[in-house]
């Protein structure tokens, strides 16, 4: 059992390594992509600098905290796309029947598919997040917490993408819908939760995973509490389990590439 886990992990790490190596073939493009993404994230500081001229706190956040929020969103999104970029294009694989290659290998299908691609610019996202947390208060504890929540955030956004992506096993049209849902999560993730009230707030802490992905963690980086931490961890685990279950249930409906042939 333990060797099986070890072997599985080894294959996943090899895949991730090879993905990144492939991106590095063109060094100039590789570095430009990373730098541009960092610049891209930083450019939004302009927007916030202007808004904070109007009021000193926005939704209970100071400028520094909004930076941290942006940083955590970027690094979670980044980590998720470095390791599991393929999850975000899962509908394309399902609809065009491209899962065959992983189904004939004696390893976990889901992990095999997930780790089969990377996105270079995501490295820029991750670096930006780490840069931000270091610049907004260089304390070891803060940075460690930030890294922990980067991991949980990455797990949550990946699981959510897997969940909405797996709907393509049943409905072909859900591809765009799934992408829109991901956009929703990301759009919310870069604005302070304090500006939302009532039903919106409730949704953000339940079926829209933004709350557990970034809001709750950002609060805890300034103000640690164990209950909140357990909630975030529990949410990440629960969402992952549900997403994986939906994926595997959907896999039974998978109809491989030759469906296209049958359509003639």
């Amino acid at each position: 059992m333990l060797t099986a886990v070890k072997n599985q992990l080894r294959v996943c790490l090899l895949s991730i390594k090879y993905n990144i190596m492939r991106e590095m073939l063109n060094k100039v493009t590789f570095l430009t992509n990373i730098c541009f993404m960092m610049l891209n994230n930083a450019s939004f500081l302009v927007q916030w600098a202007v808004l904070f001229r109007l009021k000193e706190d926005i939704g209970g956040y100071s400028f520094r905290e909004v930076m941290l929020l942006w940083g955590l969103s970027a690094s979670s999104f980044g980590l998720s796309h470095i390791l599991f970029a393929r999850v975000f294009s899962l509908p394309e694989l399902i609809i065009n029947g491209k899962l065959d290659a992983w189904l004939v290998l004696p390893k976990n299908v889901l992990l095999g598919v997930m780790t089969s691609a990377t996105r270079t610019s995501a490295i820029g996202d991750l670096l930006y997040g780490i840069l931000v947390v270091c610049l907004t208060g260089f304390q070891i504890k803060r940075i460690l917490l930030f890294l922990l929540f980067t991991v949980t955030g990455a797990v949550i956004i990946t699981a959510f993408a897997l969940l909405v992506g797996s709907l393509s096993f049943w409905f072909v049209k859900t591809e765009i819908f799934g992408n829109q849902m991901l956009n929703v999560v990301i759009s919310f993730a870069t604005y302070p939760d304090g500006i939302f009230k009532g039903a919106a707030k409730f949704l953000l802490y339940s079926i829209i995973p933004t709350g557990m992905m970034v809001y709750q963690p950002v609060h805890m980086i300034t103000d640690m509490d164990l209950g909140g931490l357990l909630m975030v961890l529990g949410y990440a685990v629960l969402l992952s389990v549900i997403a994986a279950a939906v994926f595997y249930r959907g896999l039974r409906n998978y109809s491989s590439g030759n469906l296209m042939g049958a359509r003639v």
Binding site: L14, A101, V104
Partner: protein
């Protein structure tokens, strides 16, 4: 001993019908019309250990669907299937350790890595100890004559070299059954001949069972000792190559005739 047993195997696809025009598109959103297509319709056969079988049929006859059910890619809707005594739907991973697959143009190799690194990667996938992987790479390099480009990135190889590497990679774990779906498609005659020779050698030396689909009469004639022809999801012929060769027509003529006969009864998909 039977390595493959299929009994009454069936698979139905539900295909959406789209009507033409704006009205049709709108109607399709609310009330999608679907049509059922029986890709595989009650197929039964058994393959013995060490056999070399050609599983052929016209496009859309259900060969790929069958091969995909045998390898655990697709779930059958009905019937029973066992490969090496294992049910692919229940123990997919366990089966995967013992079978090899080469799916035509679909590439399983990392194109930016060398064949050597690729073999190492597949060694890790099949849990082969490093030293053992090294030994097998040596063997395969010799059999498939890969030494000249073992350390050249796959993307720089010719198609023939690449296919040789693909097949070698699918043999790294010494599978007991090798599934080949159009392995020689797009290759020149010399390379084709070369690949056929290698597959035949695998079959003879290691007693590897060969399950081949191909549109290439040469592949079938030179590799296989038994032929199954499917059409419209059903088996229409199952005979030994020897027997077919004694018939008064060439293999090609026989195949053409069988394809056509079936075509008259039921319109092709």
């Amino acid at each position: 001993m039977n390595v493959i047993e299929a009994e009454n195997l069936s698979k139905t696809f539900r295909v959406k019908q789209k009507e033409k025009g704006m009205k049709g598109s709108i109607r399709a959103v609310f009330k999608p019309k679907t049509e059922e297509i029986k890709a595989v319709n009650g197929v039964s056969f058994a393959v013995e250990e060490g056999e070399a079988l050609a599983f052929i049929g016209p496009n859309g006859a259900g060969k790929s669907t069958t091969i995909k059910m045998l390898t655990g890619i697709l779930y059958p809707d009905g019937g029973r299937v066992q490969v090496l005594g294992i049910d692919p739907t229940k123990k997919r991973k366990q089966l995967a350790y013992q079978i090899g697959t080469v799916f035509g143009q679909k590439e399983q190799l990392w194109t930016h890595l060398t064949p050597y690194d690729n073999f190492q990667f597949f060694g890790a996938i099949y849990d082969i100890p490093d030293r053992e992987t090294e030994k097998r790479i040596g063997e395969l390099t010799e059999i498939f004559e890969l030494s000249a480009f073992l350390n050249t990135p796959v993307r720089n190889l010719s198609l023939g070299q690449r296919i040789r590497c693909e097949i070698a990679a699918s043999l790294i774990h010494r599978p007991k059954v090798l599934f080949l779906d159009e392995p020689t498609i797009g290759l020149d005659p010399v390379v084709k001949e070369n690949i056929r020779f290698l597959i035949r050698q695998m079959n003879r030396e290691f007693h590897t069972t060969i399950f081949l689909t191909s549109h290439d009469i040469g592949d079938i004639e030179k590799l296989c000792r038994r032929v199954i022809i499917v059409n419209s999801g059903q088996i229409v012929l199952d005979d030994s190559m020897e027997h077919l060769k004694f018939a008064d027509a060439s293999l090609e003529d026989i195949i053409m005739r069988v394809y056509r006969e079936k075509g008259k009864e039921e319109p092709a998909l």
